[in-house]
């Protein structure tokens, strides 16, 4: 569906919820956005699906409570992603550091011959990026959001977002180069 039509449909549903506390309309809204929000949180939570789904539920419950605060100058999905990101940050800060940090140096993140495919290895490499770069790469490159939207969601300054995006891309490009050269020489690690 065309993004403008999507946005208008969201606004229509929001209006119905705010005017009549229409739960059916909220049901539609959750149905339309659950996949993206849960995918976003799964990546932020490094594929901990149970935690991601708990946070996604919190996200939608908060959205229900705070819907009147939504201003239609940003896309509804961006507003929702920001709530989800804040839920994630809250959970991240509450957990002991060792539970959420799975820091593998990027050069060791994915031995070319150790895992099934490039896609899986790339995910590992992505997880091994420094936190700021990983988050920006998730929103900007993976989810296709603009720098401005990424800044809006993460609360980072626009300049920082652009720097993280450039650095993250450079690191992954280097990783890919190493991967390809290892593939062609048949090096195993």
């Amino acid at each position: 569906m065309v993004p403008e039509v999507e946005s208008r449909l969201d606004l229509l549903l929001i209006k119905r919820i705010l005017l009549h506390e229409d739960r059916q309309a909220f049901n539609q809204l959750v149905r339309r956005h659950q996949s993206h929000v849960r995918a976003q949180l799964r990546r932020l939570c490094r594929n901990d699906h149970a935690l991601a789904d708990d946070l996604a539920q919190e996200t939608f419950l908060l959205a229900w409570r705070k819907l009147s605060q939504y201003r239609s100058d940003a896309r509804f999905s961006t507003w929702l992603f920001r709530i989800a990101h804040n839920c994630f940050l809250q959970a991240y800060r509450q957990q002991p550091r060792h539970e959420v940090q799975d820091e593998t140096p990027l050069d060791q993140a994915a031995g070319p011959r150790q895992s099934a495919g490039l896609q899986r290895d790339l995910q590992k490499a992505l997880q091994a990026l420094p936190e700021g770069e990983r988050v920006v790469m998730l929103y900007h490159t993976q989810m296709g959001l603009s720098h401005e939207e990424t800044a809006e969601i993460t609360g980072l300054p626009l300049g920082t977002v652009k720097t993280h995006a450039t650095r993250g891309s450079a690191r992954l490009r280097q990783w890919l180069k190493d991967y390809q050269s290892n593939e062609s020489t048949g090096v195993t690690t």
């Binding site: 739960r23 659950q34 996949s35 995918a39 419950l61 790339l122 490159t141 891309s169």
Partner: protein, 107 residues
Amino acid sequence: MSLSREEQDDDLLNQLLRDSAADPVPDEGFVDTVMSRLPAPRRRTNRAVWLGLASGVGLAAWQLQDNPMLSHVARDWSGGQFSLASALVLVLVVMTACCTSTGVLTK
């Protein structure tokens, strides 16, 4: 014009990253769980009922203000007495208020 190696790598990376993000997450009861966790619906107090009731009480008081019975009852209440007449007036006021408010609501 052919793309540089760097641009090709960028394209490949972006493609791979977007492909990995494109997988939809199936609902698997998620929406129902969220809906079941929503707070119970607020009892929407009908403002019109309260407005009508207040108008009814006001109107009744206005209509009965010159009635000697009302001043008699007021004297009773101020003296701490609760006579049959005052109870009757109270019932009348409430009934008038209800009737008036119903009238206001049905208009």
